[in-house]
Point group: C2
Chain length 231, copies 2
DNA sequence: ACCTGAACACCGTTCAAGT
DNA sequence: ACCTGAACACCGTTCAAGT
């Protein structure tokens, strides 16, 4: 590599470090992300990074927040569709960088990126007529689901044919010990991902919209929870 | 330590390795779980473990499945309460071993432990009158939520006062850029954990029960999704 | 078949020393 | 204030060698 391609060493900064981290993740997944590798990519020693970043965990939180800025809004859609579209965009952002979803599931996002995501979803739910308390807690439910689903998908992708193996195991389930499984195993794994994801979002939004908050002081044995469903 | 306390080295086996792993996790969290530490605890070299276990990922899957066997059923409760109680028991199992939830979120559980959990939940939902297709996909939704919530809780526990910091950041959110957040931030973090968890389970179960599966071939622009909610 | 020691190729983080 | 090399205390996994 000639000198001219790298005219001057890029000056270190929190931003460069975060971007380099995201690049490494995109290229090689979780295994490719380390302080030492970021340092090497930036042509410096790993110790230098600690001037800009508290530690690896902190860096991970910054990376998620930076990625979250890429989530796209669709402000012209009807509110419920907007919520769903934003969530699909969030899913895409996570799936594009293998490993990022796993980080997101274990690291609390904070900063403007996650604030923006929350704002968009809150706005959509409120516009759709969801009551404020339910909308606030609902946003939590929705983001948690998408994050977890993305983490699951990317983790399985890196884990050989676990899904197929599990499907086989469920199909061979002992009918006496696991009658329901034996009966319904074909439904558990059925359907293409997008359709299931769509149904999951619909279910979550329906549940959020129509489920009242439990009473402040829950009686010890409130056995009629089940009857108090939607409507 | 006198010889008498350790009369003979326990013979290695997959079971002993899994149990030792769970013990280490219980004592010291994720950071305390490593092949080398399990080997040391069993008074052998780490290479010996590979006779019984393919690799660390495989071991993790075995550990989750073993823990899942501890989930308690409550067969005498009304179906919906049974489902909720089983899920609370699952949450407890995950929270008892710091780090296990994080593993569960990233590793596909398989084996009799996870099959049992699925069986219990399927049985409960079907008894509650939920249609088979929705029950099958619903079990997925429910377990994913509990796993993710447990992972979130344990991760935050090990991460200083992230929650408080985030709460502060949201409270100071710019009113122009984040009007909804500024308006509702007090609701986002409000309420004790158990009450929120209870509401989340209610919402999920309501959504699962009352949301029809999307049509097989989804039209590109099906904008009336939002209107098609419960009833 | 099972077990071992030693090696290989990595980690995050700290710290004294330099500029 | 920023950057560095070297060190510390770890990792998972493999493999030739032993029993």
């Amino acid at each position: 590599v000639s000198r001219r391609d790298r005219p001057a060493k890029a000056p270190l900064s929190r931003e460069v470090i975060v971007q380099t981290g995201l690049d490494l993740l995109e290229q090689g997944g979780l295994a490719n992300l380390s302080m030492r590798k970021i340092a090497t990519a930036l042509d410096t020693g790993s110790a230098s990074l600690y001037v800009y970043v508290k530690d690896l965990n902190h860096l991970r939180a910054l990376m998620i927040d930076a990625a979250l800025e890429e989530v796209q809004d669709s402000p012209d859609l009807p509110p419920v569709d907007r919520v769903k579209t934003v969530l699909r965009s969030y899913l895409t952002v996570l799936l594009d960088r293998p490993g990022l979803a796993g980080i997101a599931a274990l690291t609390m996002a904070r900063g403007t990126g996650s604030m923006r995501l929350y704002e968009l979803l809150l706005d959509g739910l409120l516009d759709a007529g969801v009551r404020p308390e339910r909308a606030a807690w609902g946003v939590d439910l929705l983001t948690l689901h998408v994050t977890a689903k993305a983490a699951e998908l990317t983790a399985w992708r890196d884990q050989g044919d676990v899904v197929g193996d599990t499907e086989d195991a469920f199909a061979r389930a002992d009918e006496t010990a696991f009658p329901r499984l034996a009966q319904l195993h074909h439904l558990l794994f059925a359907g293409p991902g997008p359709r299931r994801f769509d149904w999951a979002l619909n279910s979550l939004i329906n549940g959020i919209t129509h489920t009242p908050l439990p009473p402040q002081a829950t009686p010890a044995h409130d056995t009629d929870d089940g009857a108090r469903h939607v409507r």
